[in-house]
Amino acid sequence: MIAYFVKRFVWLLLTVWVVFTLTWILANFSPGTPFTSERSFPPEIEANLRRRYNLDKPAYVRYMYDLDNLLRFDLGVSTKQVDFTVNELVALCWPVSASLGLLALAWAAIVGLVAGVVSAARRGSLADFSLMSLATLGIALPNFVIAGFCILLFGFLIPLLPPAGWGGPRYMLLPAFCLGAPYAAYIARIARTGMLDVLSQDYVRTARAKGLSRRAVILKHALPTAVIPVVSFLGPAVAGIITGSLVIEKVFAIPGIGYSFVQSAIDNDTPMAMGIVVLYTILLFTMNTLVDAAYTWLDPRVSWDDV
């Protein structure tokens, strides 16, 4: 087990380096500079700006600077929000996205799993049909549409919740619901398929044959195996959902980090874009590692050597 994690850690370092290098090349050879704005500057001021951002140095020198800084976890100052270092921005914005994402995922996982299991257990019934129709709707409707409905309903028609902003638990409910909706739908569908698959297996029939109740079979014997596809889905999903969503953050004015994922690239804010890419790489890699580790726990047939 320890060997597994050590091996994965080495791979993580390698992956971060490769991703960093590729992103660096893309960022540094795309048009524009961090100071591209509506106004052009006199050549004198532009020369000063170039020196300030080290743009007067050859590319390999800049790459070595940046790599060196990365090794010291110093990602520099954002060029669009110069009052903050990238580390500070991540430290301030990421917890917002992370807590919202976890709340969204918590409801999505619970509701999705229950819906999936119920559908599978009562295959072909009215409950199955309505739950799966709802899930299809959840996948098909973009979350800004759901957000629009929610704001209209709970902000204006039944003024219970604030329409946007950040400042207390009340502010989290609508965005967490909208953020989690498509995930809940996916999880429901995956859980249903997984459960149906397991229910047709021999060992389930054996369990039923030895006289266990249907409920016990489903919950005790079928469920752990049936959730494996859900867990595989959850790994990357956690990495995705806790790094925020541009759309949800814009619609609900949430000071999370999802916005920077897109905007830092558009703004040529290279330090911020690099920081985010590195953060996301680490998160995704960690979650995938944990998912692989979870297989050994959920499925007795999988051992540490297999993952």
């Binding site: 000063n48 009052d83 995922l105 604030p162 902003g165 502010y171 989290m172 004015a253 000071p255």
Partner: protein, 639 residues
């Protein structure tokens, strides 16, 4: 329940819960007296580095210049404390209009209790102009004698100039510190001129030979601490620039400051009231360094407010500065500036009462708001000092022909563009300079005339558009710009029979194309920083880097230069008028519409005035929920 299930449930429920509690912990704030949407996250609160209105609103509340501009017309305030003057109590202007002597009020203090002195303004001006600060707005300080020469580091230095050499900082010192200054006389530069191309100049290390107390020293801008090498026989330094004592700003005594301008600049006082020239506290900058000095717990300000709390992309909370000299007239104790970008979200928050002032309702609702019956008591669009226009690259084929450029302008139906594409209160534009400058008459181009347009294009050799090379309209990707471009294309194609294509690019690529003049027709907008035609007309002199049209006209350059030197205010405006007439006749640009402000302000917000710069200082506002009278914002509204 088995222990395994219990564990997984704990994991799924407890971890998020802990995270949520943790994040909410720091999220709660009591509501502010006034909350407004600042429309975007600000880049910085450092006056020298600000580059837009959202930053300006905050900087204007935190710091105070020598001069303050009135909340009503945005003109320099000369009255008593109730009128909101700046730190200068009074000033004198020399007869030639070039020397201003400012007398600073003795009770002006920084938020930490230090007195605000003339030296603070000199220090801040040096920092603002220094090539090391790389201020984007540095041009605003170039009206001072030698201002440009100082900012340009070595570029314009000639042998015999007094220079100051700023040495590298000690390791571990904050970048905000000024390095040790060595003063001397420049003897020669090797090489004497640097290549124009930025990439070429990066390859050369220029040597500056300076006479320091009779001794010749050779300096090169390089920093060994960054791993850069020092060439043989040279000394390393951070920057070589003109001696700042030669720049037109002088401290006479702690409360008297003199500025000397290269030309009589009638808008100099307006510039001093414009936020980039506001001062910063040297001690604070040098103690904490950037960006730490801007932290709420560190920052020292001299304006009506200080920062109470700041969360990126959420809000900046401003708290009244109890050390501000004019604190008795500051009525709002706390102000929240939100950073909501989506106009729909912003409007939702406004309607539900979370926000008291938004700058821009969603464009597709403008008509409805304007035509609402009964008229709204919180929406009053007003003319703004800005123009939306297309510029033409005169080096591109047919666009080099003046008749073609005029035909393009004559073929436009600007009313239709506003009605169909813009759908707001904007007004058609026939000049570059918007209305609203007292004493100035705009130079205009002719209104729509399809017949004349067709005739001109035929005269240019393209009857009915035959043989006309297709042209492309370049704009940055945005719904509103596309709508305008599509309509312009339709009008040109129908009226002139020419082929027009559209090209949209993301912001940086669009800017690059304009800069390298790789376009035919380009979208452009310009919002004036101060009320003077010069802020617009100066753009089209030959060497202005924002010209970007390849259009160059000696007569025009001469007129703008004449206006700069003219001491008589009205005569100057007349020269500028002639320049604009020439510009419009030559037609390198096609004005489309003049901007209108679109603020929505709740009736209980008082002290909010519509003005052409669409700038509304927070310190003059207060809240009055009695509803006894109509607020200042709505007083000018049509009944």
């Amino acid at each position: 329940m088995s222990p395994r299930n219990l564990l997984s449930i704990l994991f799924v429920v407890a971890v998020p819960l802990a995270g949520i509690i943790w994040s909410i912990d720091a999220s709660r704030l009591p509501p502010a007296d006034l909350t407004f949407n600042n429309s975007t996250e600000i880049k910085t609160v450092d006056p020298a580095l600000v580059n837009g209105q959202p930053e300006g609103r905050i900087v204007n509340a935190l710091f105070e210049g020598l001069v303050r501009l009135s909340p009503q017309e945005r003109l320099p305030v000369t009255g008593g404390p109730k009128e909101w003057p700046g730190v200068a109590e009074s000033w004198e202007v020399s007869e030639d209009g070039r020397t201003y002597t400012f007398y600073l009020r003795k009770d002006a203090k920084w938020s930490n209790g230090d007195p605000v002195t003339a030296e603070d303004y000199r220090y801040s001006m040096r920092r603002f102009l220094s090539p090391l600060t790389a201020a984007e707005y540095a041009k605003q300080g170039w009206y001072l004698v030698n201002g440009k020469k100082f900012t340009s580091a070595g570029a314009y230095l000639v042998p015999g100039d007094r220079v100051e050499v700023e040495l590298n900082l000690e390791p571990g010192e904050h970048q905000t510190k000024t390095g040790e200054l060595v003063k001397g006389t420049l003897m020669r530069k090797v090489p004497e001129t640097m290549p124009k191309d930025q990439k070429e100049r990066d390859k050369i290390q220029q040597r500056f030979y300076v006479d320091v107390d009779g001794q010749e020293r050779c300096y090169v801008v390089t920093d060994p601490a960054l791993g850069e090498t020092i060439p043989d026989g040279a000394l390393a330094c951070r920057m070589v620039m003109l001696d700042f004592d030669k720049v037109g700003i002088r401290v006479v005594d702690p409360h008297t400051l003199i500025t000397e301008l290269a030309n009589p600049t009638p808008f100099w006082l307006q510039l001093l009231g414009f936020y980039p020239l506001f001062p910063v506290h040297r001690g604070c900058l040098e103690k904490y360094g950037a960006p730490d000095w801007t932290r709420p717990e560190n920052i020292v300000t001299n304006g009506p407010y200080r920062i109470g709390f700041r969360r990126p992309r959420d809000r900046v909370r401003l708290v009244k500065n109890e050390n501000y000299w004019n604190r008795d007239n500051v009525r709002l104790e706390t102000v929240d500036a939100l950073a909501v970008e989506k106009t729909t979200t912003s409007l939702n928050m406004y309607i539900l009462g979370d926000v008291d002032w938004i700058q821009e309702p969603p464009p597709n609702l403008l008509r409805e708001l304007m035509e609402s019956n009964p008229p709204r008591d919180d929406f009053n669009p007003a003319p703004q000092f800005g123009t939306y226009y297309y510029k033409l690259n005169v080096d591109r084929g047919a666009l080099g022909d003046n008749r073609v450029r005029r035909a393009l302008s004559l073929a436009l139906d600007r009313e239709d563009i506003i009605r169909t594409a813009v759908r707001g209160p904007q007004q058609p534009a026939f000049s570059l300079v918007p209305p609203g400058v007292p004493g100035y008459v705009q130079g205009t181009c002719a209104p729509r005339n399809p017949q004349l347009a067709r005739q001109l294009i035929a005269e240019a050799g393209y009857p009915n558009g035959n043989g006309f090379p297709s042209i492309e309209i370049l704009y940055n990707t945005h719904e509103a710009h596309r709508a305008v471009a599509e309509l312009v294309r339709k009008q040109w194609q129908q009226t002139l029979g020419i082929t027009v294509k559209l090209r949209n690019e993301a912001w940086p690529a669009y800017q690059d194309r304009l800069r390298m003049t790789r376009y035919d027709v380009g979208r452009q907008a310009w919002i004036g920083d101060y009320i003077d035609p010069n802020t617009f007309l100066d753009l089209y002199v030959s060497d202005n880097e924002n010209n970007q049209t390849n259009w160059s006209n000696e007569e025009y350059d001469r007129l703008i230069a004449d206006a700069e030197r003219e001491t008589d205010a009205q005569a100057r405006l007349d020269i500028l008028h002639n320049a604009e007439v020439l510009l419009m006749a030559e037609g390198p640009i096609i004005p489309i519409y003049f901007y209108y402000s679109r603020n929505m302000v709740r009736p209980h917000v008082r002290g909010f005035y519509n003005n052409a710069l669409d700038f509304h200082p927070l310190h003059s506002m207060w809240i009055d929920r009695s509803g006894a009278t109509v607020n200042e914002f709505m007083r000018s509204a049509k009944k």
